[in-house]
Amino acid sequence: MSNSRRLFLKGACAAAVGASGFTIAMARSTTSGDVEPACNYALVHDETKCIGCDACSIACREVNQVPEGVSRLEIEREGPFGEYPNQHFRFTRKSCQHCDDTPCVKVCPTGAAYKDPKTGIVSVDEWKCVGCQYCIAACPYQIRFINPVTKAADKCDFCKETRLKEGQLPACVTACPTKALTFGDITDPQSQVVQVLKSTPSYRSKTDLGTRPKVFRIASQSGEIKL
């Protein structure tokens, strides 16, 4: 009896070690980004040019048929700062950051959340999604939502299924009247995105979480200084 118990414990320990080794190996292979995308799309939002007109979010709703009550793109307004007549607002973009290291893709139990290997765009397979909302909870930028029509998780996909398919720029980029948005491939050194990023200092949101977001921001100088 004691012999078989010892054998069982040995087996159980071996299984536990194997399982944890496998988990760690899997975690390593996913964080190191084993599949290098052919191109890697990124977006720059120049907050110094943004006037908060919402042309981008209206265009997004129209092109991607986003139902009322939810949105893929919002412009958040802070302010006013200063006194009349020198008043300023600060506008920041709230949308999918298309992280290179994606928390939503990691937690999705069915693989409905995935990073497109061709473009690096984080997407949702509507059919595979069961609506467990784990990805919504996992997103540190809190930009995912349940689409009330499809009942699947939804968010910005850089217009992958609409404008990009037709060879055009995302709807928000085209709609912007002040040219505050620049979209393109960061692996191509000649692209406009790379030129903008190389010439102007930019920042990204919540970089300390290690998600490597691909929405770059050029900081508005009119905001308040906070500690």
């Binding site: 937690v107 999705c108 139990p109 069915t110 693989g111 609506g131 467990c132 909302q133 540190p140």
Partner: protein, 313 residues
């Protein structure tokens, strides 16, 4: 900020109930195994406490899974979780554990209730007899795997939340341990309450055995809760903000101090300490102590789930 509705809230109370039921199921079956192995042996099925645990374990896990499926935005697509697996997703691994756990659970139940089940069949269906005998041959292996799977299930509900880097309070390495230990103690409480309701002897050796394990378990739970919040506060930043939002003033602060610390932990501990080992236990004593523990664990699940989602990294 209203305690049940705020912007960063994604998972509501049905998930807390599911986390609670999974813990109760895992805990109850662990105590059924312990009772059979150390106290009752072949006659285990006659004990009201083992019967209660063997009823609670499958019913709780079914109810929990039912709640989980209904809570999906596409409940009729739940089978896709069973078909597509993502090894990096804690939820995916947990679903796999839950499925294997249920198989092991029923195999073990067949071993425990082999005698009464076969006498009820009274040789009418030879297939059933063959099946029961085949399963009973591997009882030792099944028991070992069942305990491991039950412990995995108890910890899994904690890992499910601790994988979320979004929320600094949930993204905490102590959480799986805290959920495992509190799940085990809720299973013990469920077994005791169900046992006395099924006419088990409130002064029986089962109650003494479980109470002996319950006191150290409550102490460990207190240490884990302390470590959980001390860790958050010492980490600083948003973790510290999250800890003070949770256990500070307001609705959830009250739930924590009055509901979890006083009713869920201190009262069962006090009852156990004031009750001398030699004194005779009554129905009301066992039922009230167990109910306090169960309420405490249910509140703990809700408290962690809601307050955990209040602060974003």
């Amino acid at each position: 900020m209203s305690p049940f509705h705020f912007d960063s809230l994604i998972w509501h109370w049905p998930i807390a109930i599911y986390l609670f039921l999974a813990g109760v199921s895992a805990g109850a079956i662990c105590f059924a195994v312990l009772l059979k192995h150390f106290k009752l042996g072949r006659d285990a099925y006659k004990s009201g406490f083992v019967q209660a645990a063997c009823l609670i374990a499958p019913l709780a896990v079914f109810a929990g899974l039912g709640i989980l499926v209904i809570d999906l935005t596409k409940p009729f697509d739940f089978w896709k979780i069973l078909l597509f697996y993502n090894p990096t997703s804690v939820m995916s691994v947990g679903v796999a554990v839950l499925m294997v756990y249920q198989v092991a659970l029923f195999a073990w139940l067949a071993c425990v209730f082999k005698e009464p089940a076969l006498s009820w069949c009274s040789g009418r269906w030879p297939v059933v007899e063959k099946l029961f005998n085949a399963i009973a041959k591997h009882e030792a292996t099944i028991t070992g795997f069942l305990v491991m799977l039950a412990l995995s299930l108890g910890a899994y509900t904690g890992f499910l939340l601790s994988a979320l880097t979004t929320y600094p309070m949930l993204n905490n390495p102590v959480l799986p341990l805290l959920f495992l230990v509190s799940g085990l103690s809720s299973g013990a409480a469920g077994t005791l309450l169900g046992g006395v309701l099924l006419k088990g002897n409130p002064d029986g050796k089962e109650v003494h055995f479980i109470h002996n394990i319950e006191i150290p378990m409550i102490l460990v739970e207190i240490v884990l809760i302390f470590t959980f919040f001390a860790g958050l506060i010492l980490t600083g930043g948003q973790s510290q903000v999250a800890a003070f939002t949770a256990i500070g003033e307001g609705f959830w602060g009250w739930i924590f101090w009055a509901g979890i610390v006083v009713v869920g932990l201190s009262m069962p501990l006090a009852f156990n300490l004031f009750m001398k080992a030699s004194s005779k236990r009554k129905f009301s004593y066992v039922a009230i102590t167990a109910s306090c523990s169960l309420i405490g664990v249910l509140l703990l699940r809700n408290f962690i789930l809601y307050t955990g989602q209040m602060t974003v990294a």
